[in-house]
Symmetry: none
Subunit: 220 residues, 2 copies
DNA sequence: TATCATTTTAAGAAAACTTTAAGCAAACCT
DNA sequence: AGGTTTGCTTAAAGTTTTCTTAAAATGATA
């Protein structure tokens, strides 16, 4: 489970992130509302936790914008003002839950779990890694289209990032075992994928380990 | 089992190390938080024991930094502050266990054992020695890439550190028995490996024992 | 059938790695 | 010390593997 957490109080954020992490929830955190919005539109999060009070663009603005764009990721709002007014406002704009500060982190974990256990409102299956998100349903990588072979290789790499996969394995996996000897297929398609990763300006790279294979990694 | 122990009270450290050692747990100890952090990032420890109160960088800082870097080595915190107990228990920063000072060393041993018996935390095969860790899967030594021959030699040295391996043996082992007479291959690659060890700033060295061979050792 | 995307094929370029060789350095021996 | 052996280091040449392209073949679609 991966969530986005937009919160400008660094100390609180640190504490929350580490509790969530221990609960097996991985967190992308930003203190900046603008960046939060940019990230929130990506279909890689199981839920979004938004602080209402943010410098610049407010949590409400983000919430409103997301719902206007028809993005249905579950959202929990955090507010320091436990006034009923905020609560109503939040739920009206389409928040899924509301938590007043200060709160117990365990309470947040519980509500996140509850939200995500809800009826499957995600009809799109997405694999994400680093800044990449691959949509299985329409075979798009960060919204750009992949051909069948490109997609099959990318999917294999994404499902086991940071692990080396040999050309033989990929060949057998994507083209079938009768294709052994045609490793150039893989080379050609790795080349196509690299071109697309570059076009996407992704931080992720497909690395070659000579005589062993390829691996997808997010750092240098 | 090998652990890192960051503790500035030398008297206590000595006692603890002695008991752990008797229990078959080998301990790398440092009193310095900075050095502790440098060591802790290496994937060579089964667990890390951190004192909270350290001069300079605190145990919490180390813990936080490690978790931020996504390093999942199990960590036990040691705290002398009974006042902070609540805070520690309530605002868990991602440690796996806590122990209040003073504690029985047998208690520490028990908790270490318990921690390490936990679900597999490393799915990657790594050989480590001193400050070196070699990843068999992608042929990286402390994250830098080795070629096939470099890797084969390094692996051989790492699997039997402190033991002399002759040029003839390495040659036969890496190049095959038909290559006898080409001992210069080995010399060349030992030279390459030394260059990489230096680049890594490793304390480990490949020593030459004239007319006998080479051995990997961690001290001077 | 004409068009378009995709896959296969092939070949030359580029990159990574290995081998070779030669000169220098260090250790050993008498 | 002086000579000899052994080991170190490098760069260049050679080899292998991988990359990149573009054209040809295939196949799907309207």
């Amino acid at each position: 489970m991966r969530i986005l957490y937009v919160e400008d109080e660094k100390f609180l954020a640190d504490a929350v992130i580490h509790v969530l992490d221990k609960s097996g929830i991985s967190v992308d955190w930003t203190a900046d509302g603008e960046e939060g919005l940019d990230l929130a539109v990506k279909p890689i999060y199981d839920a979004i936790v938004l602080d209402v009070m943010l410098p610049g663009i407010s949590g409400f603005d983000i919430l409103k914008t997301l719902r206007e764009r028809n993005i249905k990721t579950p959202i929990i709002m955090l507010s320091a003002l436990s006034q009923a007014e905020d609560k109503i406002k939040g739920l009206n704009f389409g928040a899924d839950d509301y938590l007043a500060k200060p709160f117990k982190t365990s309470e947040l974990v519980a509500r996140l779990r509850a939200l995500i256990r809800r009826p499957p409102l995600q009809d799109e299956k997405v694999i994400s890694f680093g800044d990449l998100y691959y949509n299985l349903k329409d075979r798009t990588l960060n919204d750009i289209h992949l051909s069948e072979k490109e997609a099959a290789i990318m999917e294999s790499l994404l499902k086991n990032p940071d692990h080396v996969q040999s050309k033989e394995y990929l060949l057998a996996h994507v083209w079938g075992t009768e294709s052994i000897g045609e490793e150039n297929y893989v080379e050609v398609y790795i080349s196509y994928l690299r071109k697309k990763l570059k076009k996407l300006n992704s931080k992720c790279k497909i690395k070659t380990i000579r005589s062993l294979g390829y691996k997808l990694c997010s750092k240098s």
